[in-house]
């Protein structure tokens, strides 16, 4: 049996934004990963480019805004809980994975954006598309670690 402390009502809205943003972020990255992986497997260059474009646009129009909502709400809830100067490891893991994933997200957007432009000019997708398309897999691993840390809260 387990007894839980009930959190104050004022924490609920920032928590809703944080969890909702994180769910949208993981969903967007899943869509992009499926599109990129299918793009690599596609033999026809035109079909491959269409799948890659769908994945790249999903990263820009869905993953980036979701990341901003998730990260902004994380800062909000940390300040509500007065945990800004906390040394507990789950908060450290949360901010560490979030900041690193933010950097990887930006690199992904740059690489896939360049690959998309080259492809529109008829140059094919190339190696940049492979690297940019592989980075969301790394993001997914980081988010799995973050979900584990946020739910199990290792001290």
């Amino acid at each position: 049996m387990m007894v839980l402390a009930i959190r104050p009502d004022s924490w609920n809205f920032p928590l809703l934004l944080h969890v909702g943003g994180a769910m949208l972020l993981v969903a967007s990255i899943t869509v992009a990963i499926v599109a990129f992986v299918q793009s690599w497997r596609e033999a026809d260059p035109d079909s491959s480019a269409r799948l890659f474009r769908f994945g790249a646009l999903t990263m820009f129009f869905a993953a980036l805004p979701s990341f901003i909502v998730m990260r902004g709400a994380a800062q909000w809830i940390v300040s509500k809980e007065h945990l800004e100067n906390s040394n507990v490891s789950w908060i450290g893991i949360g901010f560490g994975t979030s900041d690193l994933s933010g950097l990887i997200l930006i690199i992904t957007l740059i690489l896939t954006g360049i690959a998309l432009r080259r492809s529109r000019r008829g140059g094919g997708l190339g190696k940049l598309a492979k690297v940019g398309g592989a980075l969301p897999l790394l993001l997914m691993v980081l988010y799995l670690v973050a979900i584990w840390a946020m739910t199990t809260k290792p001290s």
């Binding site: 609920n12 809703l16 909702g20 599109a35 799948l51 979900i147 199990t152």
Partner: protein, 138 residues
């Protein structure tokens, strides 16, 4: 299994379920924007698997948690509400999935699909609100 592990598996199931919803929405967007259904056809198998696995694990580990934690009971209003919402969302998801069966021949009823996806998003949003605010708890 301890509380932390159960909560992790429950939340992981919920994230997987939302990833399935994301793929269903991506399929709808692809079908509505493009004359052919290449993107949609490539995403459909993963969408079905994530929707089924995520939905089932969120429910199973959620019920397990409700039994494990002394302050919760399966008859609490917010838990019963979540189970009802889960059943509604599952029925809608099943209908969406069945609707995409004939994707290749382009016979998808787009207006019905739009309504169904809207209802799916609404039901999972209500589920999330219920899980965060826990109306009637404590």
């Amino acid at each position: 299994m301890g509380y932390s592990t159960l909560l992790f598996l429950h939340v992981l199931g919920a994230f997987t379920l939302i990833a399935g919803v994301g793929l269903f929405l991506a399929i709808l967007l692809a079908v509505r924007r493009q004359p052919d259904t290449l993107v949609a056809q490539r995403m459909l198998p993963t969408a079905r698997v994530l929707w089924a696995v995520g939905g089932l694990s969120a429910l199973v580990f959620g019920i397990w948690l409700a039994i494990h934690v002394s302050q919760y009971s399966l008859t609490d209003g917010w838990i019963l509400g979540a189970i009802v919402l889960w059943v509604i969302a599952s029925a809608i998801g099943g209908r969406i999935s069945a609707g995409y069966k004939n994707l290749a021949d382009g016979s998808l009823a787009q207006s019905e699909a739009l309504v169904m996806h809207g209802l799916l998003v609404l039901s999972v949003l209500l589920l999330l609100l219920d899980m965060i605010y826990k109306p009637g708890a404590g």
